[in-house]
Symmetry: C3
Subunit: 669 residues, 3 copies
């Protein structure tokens, strides 16, 4: 039986990727001592070690790794041990070129960077299983082993493969899904453009086409590749569970990552971990925050680990800005506030060679213990120890945003009325308003449990699969408030239109229908009027006909002037709201504020601009994180007549509290 993470790591995990094979053994001891000094209690080891461990096929050399784990353990540093499968060694692709992933033009990827394997290669899967089995057996009893880190950032560079073996696998996957070729023809609508198949062997990739792909086929290819890569993960997991049934396993997720359906994946993980690299050019990191909330939501609120972030700057953007003093610490507290029980970095020691040598690290090239970067790391490592009681605490959201990977895939296919729509941008749009108001948000799958929420938002939920509308109806029936935005409820799981007037499956719930879409040109805007207030909208207008709902905003311009832009419909004990355009941020904020007030949803405390306030609860203790993203100090009023404890200062607080510029306070009660 697998152990709970809190049992494995009762404290906040702090550390980073550690790649000792890139350094002489003489550095290892120095590393361990520095880690101790910096408060490091967990490091990820062996992520890219395959070519060092298995230097020839079937010959394993673990002596160096034994030594590394021993040293770490002796210095009180736990190990999140990677299975070393993230990138295959050169001999594997030389001896078995069929393991190489293939580009759409038929050209194989090659050794020379990383992750050049095809997820569908049986030979690759065999090699992976052999390596993981060896790893597991070697280290199953090593005291440093805390958890298993499977592979690394699955699909970060390669989420498509066009190898002959992948084509076979795609056909097999389709056979399993559709059973008969006639069923596939139906589900792909192949009578369009003369695409009927007589036989599975006639099916090709949705690639190298003279023009638009079949969207149903494309969607299935996306599903197939997600499943294929997931299968790779499950092969490893099975071995590890078998050999070390108590040790938690996971892989690390990524930022804004579309190809993998993380809701599915999380079900097979004992811990959600992810890698966050917000661009300092973006300013206040609400995207970073949103992803924390999303990652926490993947396993129903269970705390996650931030497995990678950077101390200073990355090296893979066009221009890589450096985080200002204090920003790394402040953003790390946003992680903890939003459910992070681990704060880790890529990487421990900045590399000397290779493609990532200009990527920041906990110990920079200068190896200078007085460097700003190392000093900030050390400060945070020591501080976090004071929050150890927090591990396992949960969030308190009353608002949920529906998030769905298959919808993401489908809605961004080509051939739409408006082909510059970004699903993530629509989600960000709604999230940002909540974030600015310190309204806590969870994310849920369309079929997820909605019973804990007052307000549910479904931005651009283009795809409604069979019966999912019932789930939403039930939520509203029982008193919830549902907000649906434009271009929702249009297609079924095959990306076929729900006939009968858009958005057919939601028409009853929303009490209206969309007669036409009226996308707007790039610099086109319109205005809407609501209660005499005029606001700007852009991107899209729905031509709405009311069927029970009432309009609460109308368009002011263009040929659909006077037509409804936003509608509200009483349904059961609740209400459903439809937003048939893309409101400017202020407009949306004002609108959502009204809804939150009506639904009794509010922020933990009132706060000035750019102050992020987040709650976590555990047993009977509430932790309040107050993050000041301003340069200057702010003073926040606390609830009157209430005693709080300042966790980092170990002092008592009441009435009000002042938080410095780019600083954080954590209080509990």
């Amino acid at each position: 039986m697998v152990k709970a993470i809190e049992d494995v790591m009762p404290q906040i995990a702090f550390g980073g990727d550690y790649n000792p094979e890139q350094w002489d053994e003489s550095v290892w001891l120095e590393d361990a001592k520095l880690m101790q000094e910096a408060g490091v209690n967990l490091v990820s080891v062996a992520i890219f070690s395959w070519s060092v461990i298995e230097r020839k096929e079937g010959e394993f050399d673990f002596h160096w790794l034994d030594r590394v784990l021993d040293i770490l353990h002796e210095h009180g540093v736990g190990v999140s041990l990677a299975t070393a499968t993230a990138s295959p060694p050169a001999w594997l692709s030389k001896d078995y070129p069929e393991i190489l992933a293939v580009q759409a033009n038929g050209v194989p990827y090659q050794i020379g960077s990383r992750q050049h394997y095809s997820p569908n290669s049986k030979r690759f899967r065999y090699a992976v299983k052999r390596l993981v089995t060896e790893m597991a057996n070697r280290y199953k009893d090593h005291p440093a082993l805390k958890m298993w880190h499977i592979n690394n950032e699955y699909a970060c560079h390669l989420s498509e493969c066009y190898s002959p073996e992948s084509l076979e696998a795609f056909r097999d996957w389709l056979k399993e899904r559709y059973e008969t070729i006639e069923q596939l023809n139906q589900k792909w609508g192949t009578n369009f453009w003369s695409q009927r198949y007589n036989d599975w062997d006639e099916i090709q990739f949705p690639a190298n086409l003279p023009t638009f792909y079949n969207p149903s086929q494309k969607l299935d290819y996306e599903r197939f590749m997600n499943d294929a890569i997931f299968e790779l993960y499950k092969i490893e997991k099975e071995v590890l569970r078998d050999v070390t049934p108590e040790v938690p396993v996971f892989t690390n997720f990524m930022y804004e990552f579309k190809p993998l359906n993380y809701f599915d994946w999380a079900k097979e993980m004992d811990l959600v971990t992810w890698d966050s690299y917000p661009d300092p050019r973006e300013g206040k990191p609400y995207r970073h925050a949103m992803h924390h909330d999303l990652m926490r939501s993947l396993k129903n609120g269970q705390p996650f680990y931030l497995m990678e972030q950077v101390t200073s700057h990355v090296n893979w953007r066009d221009i890589n800005l450096t985080k200002k003093p204090g920003e790394m610490r402040l953003w790390s507290y946003s992680t903890v506030a939003r459910g992070g029980d681990g704060v880790m970095y890529f990487q421990w020691r900045q590399g000397r060679a290779g493609a990532e040598k200009f990527h920041g690290a906990m110990v920079p090239h200068s190896n200078d213990p007085n460097s700003r970067v190392y000093q900030e790391v050390k400060q945070l490592g020591q501080e976090l120890k004071q929050l150890n009681g927090l591990a396992g605490a949960k969030g308190t959201a009353k608002v949920a945003i529906i998030f769905d990977w298959e919808n993401w895939w489908a809605v961004e296919h080509e051939g739409k009325p408006h082909n510059k729509l970004s699903y993530l941008d629509q989600v960000y749009h709604y999230y940002q308003v909540c974030y600015e108001q310190n309204i806590a948000v969870d994310f849920v799958e369309p079929t997820g449990d909605l019973s804990n929420y007052q307000v549910v938002v479904a931005p651009m939920l283009y795809m409604i699969r069979n019966g999912e509308e019932k789930h939403l109806e039930e939520f509203v029936q029982h008193g919830g408030t549902l907000i649906v935005s434009f271009f929702s409820g249009i297609v079924d799981e095959q990306d076929h239109i729900h006939l009968g007037g858009y958005p057919a499956p939601l028409r009853n719930l929303l009490g209206m229908t969309v007669e036409e879409f009226a996308p707007m040109a790039d610099n086109e805007t319109n205005t809407i009027v609501s209660n005499g207030e005029i606001s700007i909208v852009d991107t899209w207008a729905d031509i709405i006909r009311l069927e029970g709902a009432r309009a609460v905003a109308h368009f002011k311009e263009n040929w659909y002037k006077g037509k409804p832009a936003v509608t509200v419909h009483r349904y059961g004990k609740g209400k459903s709201i439809y937003i048939g355009t893309n409101p400017a941020t202020e407009c949306l904020a004002s609108f959502l504020t009204g809804i939150f007030q009506q639904s009794g949803v509010k922020a933990p405390l009132e706060a000035p601009k750019n102050v992020e306030i987040v709650e976590r609860k555990k047993d009977h203790t509430t932790y309040l994180f107050i993050l000041n993203h301003n340069d200057d100090p702010v003073t926040i009023s606390l609830e009157p007549n209430k005693q709080y404890e300042d966790c980092l200062q170990n002092s008592s607080v009441s009435d009000q509290i002042t938080v410095g510029g780019t600083d954080v306070t954590v209080i509990r009660f």
Copy 2:
């Protein structure tokens, strides 16, 4: 003997593409009834039906199509029957992969969208011929059959193929053109860059080159591909003519379509049909109008059919704006005004699945008989019946623009003095001025009959083939006014320079020579002065030396200040004008207005801005179309003391007439 279109369809054709195979049989009867209601009298059937008709090689299933044609016929709807060859079925490319078109990188296109065949594949041609023969024999006597629609939008996605079979065909084509390899070496100028060929087998595609291609070779490749695709068309035509000698045949042309030489193609078509999709973002559709005029001109003024347009919005642009209420109708009347005897749509019923499901249709997804879109369709369908007497009427242009596909190909090759020149933009530039002034325009080939015109414009006629200049000289000799714009008369049919001073073949006719080209940078402008009036020019300046002509405008700036910009030369009874720069629209308009006045060319009526007025004549009746593209009504003065009949109102009109915003009046006298 093939029947005249007016005999086959004495009324204005109205209808659209109809794809019943995408729907259950139960929908077919509903469709036919709705068509009847909407005034539909012609539909295009079976365009993408190959994979449904020939499910296995050589096994044909026509039962469903029999039923469809029967139902349509029973409801008074004629059929433009497609030969179903537009996209090959999956089994064909699986069993004979040599039919696949190949990309320049050697990778074949695949099944999954449409049109993935190589026009040069003998196996494909064989399969096409077999299918068309079956189709023709099956339906030769069906009463619904009105005309044959061969293939569909030839080359719309694929106008280049780099398969081994295409290479063989290219070499054969060259052998036929040049007979000896030495002749080819001469005509391609292969002593340049060491490109001599000893043997036909040494010749490759103009692709995968380290740098600039040989422009003569490129031009021949473009000619070859046009011919190869044309050959495909002719194979089908021959079968159809053989089996159904009385039934008109055609394929459908496209908008701004460069790869196919439509003047050549039209000679093998009984009816020009084309598909028009102007972008609503462009505003008033003068491009749409110009293409109508071009399509009408392809067969010397014979009426054409608009075979496809969209009711509301397409789905293949980045952002697809919806036509405003009335716009579809108004633009359809522009079609009829400019020689369209058919107004058809893609498509009848909006698809549920596939890449075009968000493309507008006559019956939208909602299937709602009260939808705006369907209502507008129905109104137009009923209205057009009142214009049935019009079918066959001709235009009345006294101005012609020379248009030449080979010139288009050659002038846009790389390696020019200015490599951002667009042939079409130059033609649009001159056309737009005429359009705004309601001056009717025909288009002619360089060797076309010019005897009916007062003014002929040759915008950027870079290529003058052997003796073509004589044709222009004769036109001017006999009293015509010829306008030639910059970068004309430069090369021969091989894209070799006409030596002896630019524009050598026109130097005598124009009475001047161009000593140097002086292209302008992107934001550079100059000014010219003519009769004291100063105007802006950009893009290009010719350094002109007069040789008999006189300058009517001079450059005002830069090192060629004071040199001629526009020249006029008396020649025989007429005059030839050279415009050695790119004048701003107002400047060009003022200049052309003067020429039109001198030549006695004028608009049918005077009209305010944004009112389009076009004439068609038949026997002794003149039809006047007055299209008001403004939002507000306009009043137009008619010729005094003349009685007109309002065709749509069935009323009498004189003196003046008021046309509503976004509305149209058709009067006749």
Copy 3:
């Protein structure tokens, strides 16, 4: 023993590429007479003649070329005879397709443009050697032969090849460099990302990778391709030296050309020649000037030939502006002023066919002897005769800029802190300031002789190879002033970080260390203050800690406000300066002016803006070139009480001299 160029051509060489095989023999005599008239004394013949000379494998036809050389010689025109290997004939790639260069996607290039050969093809090398041997033996005694022009613009289109034979050659090159695979693993840092190699055969190209390449591997591939192409050159040179030991040999270099390490190449050339095509859109041609200085520096100040320029306009840019009257002449004098003893053009007669037919020439398409272009050519040809005594004269620079091709390759690899940095732009930035002040500049390799210079500038010298810092230390030690700009001294020759605090190898010399890099976003700027003066900087800020140096400028904004931006360090008898940001041009100019004054470096004469003044010295004569790039005349004060001779006017000058707009004066004393 090879003859000195001055002995072969004691006059200024004047002429151009001559391609008689593109014309009938009847034109050849006309050409020779025109050349005589224009002052032409040297033409480059046979550059692209392979397919005409060797029409079939091993069968050589030289009769036409004999005749051409005879005619030229009879008219007093010398010949720079090309080896005709620039582009292989069609039969060669048909019979031996392995000679074709291959794209990264595995697709071979083809005949149809030029230079489609793989430099690594043994068969190609064999064919080259055979042709050159024939050429050399045929013409070794021809009196027209002045020098050998090997191939043409090596690598101008193809500097990468991915053929199987290139892969073998790459592995062999690596074997030679590293001897053991373990050594390669060390030098490439292959423990990063699991890239270890067991065997040379496992190594692939740095291409077709899922993500970032290994930078050490990439750098070696760049070195390898440079060496492979250089090897091709050396094969030809060896043959020619063997057959004609007295005849100078060279190839022609290019503008802003990164793939070939010209410092290395120049060591194997008897004369540096290069092709210069500045874009008239750039205005005053300081880039043109910088390349002249660079070309002169490649062989330690030995005069070079400008082998190609254009009279009017090229045809390969998007828009090709025409040089204004006088510009071609003025820029040609800049060539001579900066060490050019030859002024040549591409090409003599403008081509009638092929990809370059719109490229300007000495004789334009009109063949008009009164054309502006030909007249300007003739004037220059006659004028240059008056400067014949100048040939061999040297420059007088006291300032040197370090320029290094390997640094260029490495610093522009991906994965840097700032990935929009251009090495050339940084060099231009420093050069331009010198150019505007008429401060003469040489370029040197990092290991080049610095003993003649007062000031040495090292812009962005990212790579410092083993011990190179000693060379710089010595220069400063002995009293020199060294200026180093940001992102210097970071890596060793393998592109591995110099550990120990940036810039580790220069830290001692500069007396400071860079603790962090702080790249700036695209529109971000900062300011620095120095002596109370505030200037704008952008792109980059170094976070500097002083270690002996003193700060002479500080940042004014952002989190590193108050930190040093520019530092000065006394070292031995000299001083070293570090510029840790990218100053705006005015700021840099003011800063360098101060340094030049302190170092006693100055312009030959004081001059108004846009007047270029350059000195050349020979024996005891100094030639002063005064080029007026303004439209209006300028008057320049000469040194008082000194007599000068005006070389072009053959008159005496003193006190002051007036130079017309777009005109030049050459005086000597």
